[in-house]
Symmetry: C2
Subunit: 450 residues, 2 copies
């Protein structure tokens, strides 16, 4: 096992901002006025420094010292040469992974949870509201709000709330209040419960509830775990570290893989390598998404809402339609209809690539990774593993030998039930849900930017 | 956060054997003959190299290359200065922890699972039987048998089998067969089910079932996750690494703490420091055990069986009586009536110390650790945390400032239900069960060594 550690003193002290180098994004549109959202509208739910980062064109942005101190609890994270996985695959490719599962909440989400809590805190905000699907984001933010002594309300998709009781235990332990969504505490929640009293909820709806909570309560702000520009910015630390570590290891990736739901994990590890690519270096970044929720590979690049209740700004992105309801695959973190505007723009411009993989393959290679590398991956992360494994085998067939890097975004210790389903043969391999997507794409809003 | 990494090339290449330096142990006694057990009796369930290590007086024993390769998947493990915990305690002491939770199975148990599987494999054994209480040992051994392509049957204490379904999922994933104990597959299991069809089982009984399985099946050997000399030997790598890391960090511990059930975690980290102490250096090693199962602090140093059904060799050790049934505390791994003969001998001779702590304090300091250091500890490991925290506070009162090292034997990702109980105020703080111990101590066997 070749583990490449970065010395704590070599941890990046600045985030890298993709907005400085990729083609300009369309502005976010207010769901109320249909015109570009004004800072005042956004300041209702976000603190000033976060909003600045959301719009900033500066290439490098300093990481505050207070944030560095907390990140350094688990960072820099290791890069590992997956020699035993290579052997099991019988590949001539060199496979490396950046292990973000070592964070307190067990995933890369903590990288943005800490600065988001910090910036809110220094702006005098002591309460946050957010949503969580699989529970990784809620866990990460509860860790962060506990550090900065803030209150946190987490609207957790009801089906996850019941399926993953230990994620709730985790959040409770760090002082968060966890509310199954749909709840009776918001208009969005009540409307859904009226429509279907037995509703299992969805990520889009939980977002609506959390945003409404923040809009209705002056003392409460909202925090989002993916999609937005400032989140991708905070996650750039993954790629910056990984690039240094590959240099230390004497290699450079021909290809970089990460799973992609909202896009923060992919955007995070890709960032430093996309910069290299724009500077003329040869490197390919590939987002891997579920076959059953193929936002980039089968969605449309257009303006759409980020949530079901149409409370979020309308953004130009790849989307399957804001009311698209993906099948209940086990990678809950990838069940989102949209994608980060930054990642979407990069894909649209051909700067990065994307692939979709069904969950049988995802679990096949995820378990192979567990057995060889000794880490049980989150089902989300296994999408990247499957992407890399398939690429390695394809390289072997072509007689090529590539250097492949992927982001292991998190461990699967809270996802064991999904492995049970896999071994019991109960995992359905949902195909690309073409009709449902065509239907939901009819409901995207029309935006007139003239 | 001061993290002290050891370079992979500095990983110890030999285990340290306490038997070379501590006063001689009494021999194990055959449960059949009442005389010292013969190698032939023990070879029915253990492979030759393991038996050699069990009896060896050599100070250093080479770690086989094949074992080194697997251990290096996660070793060397980090030593971390717990600065944020120190701050939360307000102590002037310096607190360090050795993090064994980074192993594939999430605890120190993997350190001995790998060599045990390896030695069995090279002796032509392809099937192992074992027991597991909380599930950590079964998980570790399933990881190891998967690596060496062996079959594994795990008798899992029935109450844990139902309480911790995800531990079972973990073992299944790595190819192990998990059987709730008491089972109908052994005489010991059937006898218990006859006595009480609704029996929840116990560790002592699960051991009986696994030993019986190995005795009755020629192709099957038995593996034990703690107590025995060879297990303490394999765990010595923890202390050897930690000592090097403390040197790198420019400090030396005044005291070393570890939780103590069967004794392998404590014996493992203590080993290198006990050697220093015997060489004249000033260092104190302290085993921390549950108030409700106070083997060292309230037990008797005498000969006793390792299991309920009296199938294991009789060993001289601290014991509460082999049929002592501890209250159902959440640190399942510490609910064992006996203790490692090596650790027992060291405690009897005054070479190491011991303390007992109730579970309310254990969870109080365990959650404090989680919130400050960002790692959810296993309830077993939290005994060491509580021991260190109380010592630090006592030092402050005395105006002393000590260097305190403890072993974080594992993470608590599969123990979240116990944290729920704690936060819901449902945790009972069982007192020292004096009457039950007096009763069970009446049943220890009489051994005549003359």
């Amino acid at each position: 096992m070749k583990k490449i550690y970065l010395s704590p003193s070599d941890m990046p002290k600045q985030w890298y901002n993709l907005l400085a180098d990729i083609p300009q994004l369309a502005p976010p549109i207010s769901p109320v006025t249909g015109k570009p959202a004004t800072p005042d509208e956004l300041l209702k739910i976000f603190p000033g420094p976060i909003l600045e980062q959301e719009m900033s064109a500066e290439r490098y942005i300093d990481i505050p010292e207070e944030v560095m101190e907390i990140l350094s609890i688990w960072r820099p994270t290791p890069v590992v040469r997956a020699e035993r996985l290579e052997k099991a695959l019988g590949t001539k490719c060199r496979i490396y992974y950046k292990n973000e599962g070592v964070s307190p909440a067990g995933s890369h989400k903590t990288n943005t949870a800490v600065p988001q809590a910090f910036y809110n805190k220094i702006c005098g905000i002591n309460k946050l509201a957010t949503e969580t699907g699989a529970g990784q984001w809620g866990s990460a933010l509860s860790f962060a709000t506990n550090i900065f002594e803030m209150a946190l309300k987490v609207y957790m998709v009801k089906v996850s709330y019941h399926q993953k009781p230990y994620r709730k235990s985790f959040m409770n332990m760090f002082g968060a209040e966890v509310i199954p969504s749909p709840s009776i505490f918001t208009n969005a929640g009540r409307a859904e419960l009226e429509r279907d009293p037995a509703s299992n909820g969805s990520l889009g709806l939980a977002i609506s509830e959390a945003v409404e909570d923040a809009v209705m309560n002056d003392d409460t702000n909202y925090a989002l775990g993916s999609v937005l520009n400032h989140v991708i910015l905070h996650q750039s630390i993954i790629g910056l570290e990984a690039k240094k570590q590959m240099e230390i290891g004497g290699d450079y990736p021909d290809m970089v893989f990460a799973s992609c739901g909202g896009g923060s994990n992919f955007g995070g590890i890709a960032s430093a390598f996309v910069k290299d690519k724009l500077d003329g270096k040869k490197v390919e970044c590939v987002a891997v998404e579920p076959l059953s929720c193929p936002t980039l590979t089968k969605g449309q690049f257009t303006f759409d809402y980020g949530d079901v209740a149409k409370m979020t700004p309308i953004m130009q992105m790849f989307t399957l339609g804001h009311d698209f309801m993906p099948p209940a695959i086990h990678a809950g973190g990838l069940r989102y209809h949209g994608d980060s505007p930054i990642v979407s723009k990069m894909y649209q411009e051909g700067i990065v690539g994307a692939r979709s993989i069904g969950q049988t393959d995802v679990f096949k290679y995820g378990t192979m990774f567990a057995k060889t590398e000794g880490i049980i991956p989150a089902p989300e992360s296994s999408h990247a593993i499957a992407g890399v494994a398939k690429e390695a085998l394809a390289c072997d067939e072509r007689g090529e030998s590539k250097s492949l890097l992927f982001c292991l975004s998190g461990h699967g210790h809270f996802d064991m039930a999904s492995y049970d389903s896999y071994y019991e043969g109960k995992l359905e391999d949902y195909d690309y849900p073409e009709e449902a997507i065509n239907e939901s794409l009819k409901n995207v809003p029309t935006v007139d930017l003239s």
